[in-house]
Amino acid sequence: MSRKLEISKSFRIDVTALFTRCMPTSIFIIVFLLFGLTSPRFLQPESLLNIAKQASYIGIAALGMTLVLITGGVDLSLGSTVYLSTIVAGLLMRDYGLSPVAASFVCLLAGAGIGGFNAFFITRLKILPFVVTLATMIAGRGLGLLLTKSRALEFPAAILKVGAFKLFGFLPLPILLFALSATAIQLFLSRIPLGRHYYAVGFNAENARRAGLPVDRIIASAYVLCGICASLGGLVAVTQLGIVNAGFGKGDEFDAIAAAVLGGAALSGGVGSAFPGTVIGALMIRMIWSGLVSAKINLYFQPMIFAVILFLAVMLDTRRNMIIARQRRKIISLRKDKQT
């Protein structure tokens, strides 16, 4: 083989390696360019900022979901947590005159409480997360409907004013909060022992127990944090909408799971990140929806196209793991060559 060919071959491997290692980001860029080419309007700063703003609510909730997924669990009650925690805050403000700040705090507390409720059944009674959170999802929604008698709950106008806040006059509050929570969660996952323990538990809980980690407490904390993230996401949505109706948050758990999985998290646990991971995933979901609208795709085809993109992205991600595994094999054999 000529020298030139060899170089080009090794270069090719490096490019595929780069592409496969950063699969979520790569797909994100491709989708972005695709929509940008089909509709120039899509690329305007305004529209991009709008996408980011719309992604913030699900994005923040999805950060919590990411934590739970990394530990190898799932939280199906996320949408109901969003609903119930904002209802509690809204009722306290409307009927008991609680200040918005205090009410927000109570909202987060309620989210933590629901997470703790899930955690209790999962870690103490050893019931599968899927079953526990499914029950919480149904019960939480029911409780919320009971409290509001199924009527929409309006929030004070001051809330909308807060929601219109822009940092430096251009960065909307939801994006700001999304960025802050993503940074916090990512730092937590990469730089705090508890965050690292999530990955260990998600890879193999029995191994983690034998390594002396308090597995139950670790798992419980993930559900509590997920509840807090969900209620924070709910708060962000409320500052934009000013109202909570009976369907608020319904089905959000699946958007959150989709965002996390698009961002590289695995339902089998042990893998995932807040940034770039889930942030990219959440942005991508909003981007696809807006892109489909600005590309003037038939309304009825949009969900199907969305489904195809979601499916392809996850399939590519699975492929990625296979490709990486194959490369590892090559690297290992190369290292062997060096040793001999």
Partner: protein, 495 residues
């Protein structure tokens, strides 16, 4: 000298079946204690008690002369006991450094001190001669390297007593050497070591003292210098086992059963040619990662090949599938019986009939329970398989009996060719002998056998011919009269 740990009259039963009966011995500090015994002798139970996983039913433990109790793995770690398990307790999705410090990260405030972690990891890794970047994901490491990481964990925890449970089963010869050096290094640093292994030569070489367990009792104890291989074996099985290997009487027939020509698959094997005749036992020797398992997987259709030809029993196999291979009369016993060879939570019978379910259906394609039971029964008797009933869960059998179940499963299919990948890995001396006899018997009945093993001794004792594979290529072939351990090893290392 005060013993580091004294074990006094420890009893432990599981559901009424005694696993340990009144075991007592001392672990002397700064010495290497070899613990040997057949599978099911109680070694694992004893170690699980020492590392806090199990509580003894009665008896006492003393740590430097003071009585102590171990409740849970964390307590054992606290007391300075580290167990390096056969299946490593590591996390492939985390970095080397994460694995080392998982339960005790160096911190700065609430944060992990990444700088300190990196430096400390480098230093620990250097102590065992593993100079790799600590931020590498563990999945990039080879089995031997992963084990060194586990040893680093014990070093980091500043363990007084390090227990090695079958540490060498998945290591190459070079990695074993390195491990022994590391163990010697640990001893020089004043640590105490318990070394559990089926490889008696290793135990002889490495250990200062030897404890032999049989049926839950301690049957022999003494300085390693007083032991011979014969004494170890005699103590372990309670009888004089004269030969380690049965004598092979049969000779291969003339008819070629499997012919492989110029077989290549990228990254796995290259230009491999050989043939197996009826009634022949062909050995395949190579280091871990040399392509020996990959070759077996190719023959059985588990991996596709790029070029070459496989002719089996007169038929050309073009891109075979495992299903097709089974139909034509091949059997594959994998090196991973727990993961690939068995339904580990299934019963003995479930496993035995698995490969031949089609034979047990009646006219309406329903399974014939009576027929399955009677044939399984016959198989159990033929194999001398020790189980309480056909309904016993395979997981609860000893390693040797599990392997017999795997073999029995294939025997029911009456195959023409057996591909055996490490058929005696992790099973005890007595069971090994039975497996060898069975292989001999199969060959005598005209089956062809491809036997892959890391144990050169068993290959030279059993095989008619031996191929040496190195980096995916067959680099040398030996006939029985040319067998010479040194030459074969030289070829395998490609010296």
């Amino acid at each position: 000298m005060t013993p580091l740990i004294s074990i006094r009259n420890i009893d432990k039963s599981f559901f009424g079946a005694p696993a340990l009966r009144s075991v007592s011995f001392d672990i002397i500090p700064n010495r290497i204690l070899g613990l040997i015994g057949e599978n099911g002798a109680g070694k694992s139970t004893l170690m699980n008690i020492l590392c806090g996983e199990l509580q003894p039913d009665s008896g006492e433990l003393y740590f430097r002369g003071r009585p102590f109790r171990l409740e849970g793995p964390a307590a054992a770690a606290e007391a300075g006991i580290a167990l390096i398990h056969q299946e490593l307790n590591l996390f492939n999705n985390l970095s080397i450094a994460d694995n080392l410090f998982l339960s005790r990260y160096p911190r700065r405030g609430p944060w992990i001190d990444k700088g300190a972690m990196h430096d400390k990891a480098l230093q620990l890794l250097h102590q065992v001669g593993l100079d790799l970047p600590p931020n590498w994901l563990l999945e990039r490491l080879r089995p031997g390297e992963r084990q060194l990481v586990e040893i680093c964990k014990a070093l980091h925890a500043d363990a007084e007593l390090v227990i090695f449970d079958e540490p060498t089963t998945s290591l190459t010869a070079a990695e074993k050497e390195r491990l022994f050096q590391v163990i010697d290094g640990l001893k020089q640093r004043g640590k105490t070591i318990i070394y559990i292994s089926h490889d008696l030569d290793e135990v002889m070489r490495l250990c200062d003292d030897i404890v032999v367990l049989r049926d839950g009792r301690m049957v022999d104890f003494g300085a390693a210098s007083e032991f011979t291989l014969q004494r170890m074996i005699a103590s372990m099985c309670g009888c004089e086992l004269e030969y380690l290997f049965p004598i092979r009487q049969g000779t291969p027939q003339a008819q070629v059963l499997l012919e492989v020509r110029h077989l290549s698959a990228e990254g796995l094997v290259e230009d491999v040619s050989f043939e197996i005749r009826k009634g022949e036992i062909l050995g395949l020797f190579g280091l871990m990662g040399s392509g020996r398992t990959e070759l077996a997987r190719l023959l059985f259709g588990l991996e596709p090949f790029d070029s070459g030809r496989i002719v089996f029993n007169g038929r050309i196999l073009e891109q075979p599938s495992p299903r097709r291979c089974i139909e034509l009369g091949m059997a594959f016993v994998t090196e991973n019986r727990r993961e690939e060879g068995l339904l580990i939570d299934g019963t003995v019978q479930d496993n035995l009939v698995l490969a031949t379910l089609n034979r047990f259906v009646d006219f309406a394609r329903f399974l014939d329970a009576e027929k399955m039971a009677s044939e399984s029964e016959a198989q159990v008797r033929q194999l001398n398989l020790r189980c309480t009933s056909l309904k016993q869960i395979v997981k609860s059998l000893s390693g040797g009996n599990q392997q017999k179940v795997v073999l029995g499963k294939w025997l029911l299919a009456r195959p023409l060719l057996f591909i055996l990948d490490e058929p005696t890995r992790g099973i005890d001396v007595g069971a090994k002998y039975e497996v060898y006899s069975l292989i001999n018997h199969l060959a005598d009945e005209g089956a062809g056998i491809l036997m892959i093993s890391s144990e050169l001794e068993e290959l030279t004792a059993l095989c008619d011919r031996l191929l040496v594979i190195h980096r995916g290529e067959i680099i040398k072939s030996f006939t029985k009269d040319q067998f010479d351990a040194e030459k074969i090893l030289e070829a395998a290392f490609h010296l």
